[in-house]
Assembly symmetry: C2
Homo-oligomer: 277 residues x 2
């Protein structure tokens, strides 16, 4: 095999691969490739989840805005995120406890063994891993989390429930801050709109970032809260960034603020959908 191809709505991204390192068909179809220019690459059900070259662009932007908005994120829940990239970033804030609810144990094992982007985070003693459906978990959760992070795949039969109204509502009840990746608003508008319609919080905002190996490079995230303000205070974020000594590849406090400035067309899409609530 020479090229891996992922199609999306009249376009496709090709990534040149050297060889397939791992493949397993279970709950999801897991493939791990060694690529020519992007390091190792994880593919689930035909969709690129990460490459070593740009996974930090995604994981840092998923995790750090919500984590830095919280003054003391000591207890964090991740739904999904089996590759370990999100846990790795969360641990940089030195929390007391991280609970990761990942439905597919095979993803965790394959990533730990063949990619290792978690850099040991999955084995950290503060991290507990629960193999359960994310919706089931939050539905019955009694604990409170400072931050809840949803690191799911494109909506599909397994992850569809992770963009449901009930799921978001449960997450809102147990968290100070909630954040989820919200797909490409440019080339996957229907997913983006579904997430925005269902994820209702007292306050919420969309922000964006570059992830070159995700559909057409433009990725979005939704941050919401029923209890806290979503405020963009550069000085406060800079202070926390310095205090917590978080080392990054992509994220900076300035990028944090800048990510909330949306292109006019996207601002308009968000406004129309907010109006519909």
């Amino acid at each position: 095999m020479d090229w891996f191809i992922e199609y999306y709505n009249g376009s496709a991204l090709m990534i040149k691969v050297r060889r397939k390192i791992f493949e397993h068909k279970g709950l999801q179809h897991i493939q791990i490739f060694d690529t020519v220019n992007f390091g190792k690459m994880l593919v689930l059900d035909g969709k690129i989840q990460l490459t070593e070259r740009d996974e930090a662009f995604y994981h840092e932007m998923l995790v750090h805005p919500a984590m830095f908005m919280h003054e003391d994120p000591s207890k964090v829940l991740i739904i999904g995120g089996g590759d370990g990239g999100a846990v790795r970033e969360i641990l940089k804030h030195d929390p007391d406890e991280v609970v990761m609810v990942e439905i597919d144990r095979n993803v965790i094992e394959a990533c730990r063994k063949y990619i290792g982007v978690d850099r040991g985070a999955l084995d950290d003693e503060r991290v507990s891993i629960i193999n359960e459906d994310g919706v089931e978990f939050v539905r019955s959760a009694k604990e409170h989390f400072d931050v809840v992070v949803v690191d799911g795949t494109d909506p599909n039969p397994i992850s569809q429930s992770l963009i449901s109204k009930e799921f978001y509502s449960c997450c809102g009840k147990i968290s100070d801050y909630f954040v989820t990746q919200s797909q490409s608003p440019f080339i996957q508008r229907e997913y983006f709109e579904a997430i925005l319609r269902n994820a209702t919080f007292k306050e919420r905002r969309i922000y964006i970032g570059f992830v070159p190996t995700y559909p057409m490079g433009l990725w979005s995230y939704l941050i919401g809260s029923n209890k806290r303000r979503i405020e963009l205070d550069l000085e406060k974020i800079r202070d926390r960034f310095r205090e917590r000594k978080v080392d990054t590849v992509y994220y900076t406090p300035e990028i944090h603020i800048a990510a909330f400035a949306l292109p006019k067309w996207l601002e308009d899409v968000v406004k129309v959908l907010q109006g519909r609530e």
Copy 2:
């Protein structure tokens, strides 16, 4: 033909096409396609120059930051830009005179006839089109321009001289503000670095934006000046944006400021190259 493919360093973008509308092999190999999901698409020497779906993301970010930094951009020079998208955006600032120096007359004619993104701008009476090499033009130019915009293709035998020290130096002498697209710093690092090494100005900054159909979606621009400050004053830009009544698809004053916040890795690349000067 089903798919158009553009390759870049171990990756490639595929765009599904309905049919080829136009083809001409002259100074450059010009192709125009009708695509399934991106409208009409211009390709020069195998590289996507624009699609109707996202050309405004590029042209607005190329033009408006420099135009809004200038208090009265009444005389503007464009080098390249034969498709007419940059002229269209410049005219929104109501300048007295726009000079466009485009070496390839065939690009202008083909775009005007088959795409029309200029929306009449190429025929505006304030616009004069000169069919000449950009370097030759600026070398002998006696006039002064408020803003000089370089809208060139990827460096190749024809456009290579548009990233030379001499070219940038001449542009710096005849302009208040200078701006050029500066390729993808993520996947075309060698081009980006060459531009940054050669484009020396008293002040200069890199900024970025999303262009989904350009290599991996992350695009960069270099703005420089020997005479003016490159200041990011949101209130001033907001005032000018309102006064000039500029209608946009992508650009907003907030996006203008946000575009100068660079991902950490890119900030580092720029710092290293600045240090080398």
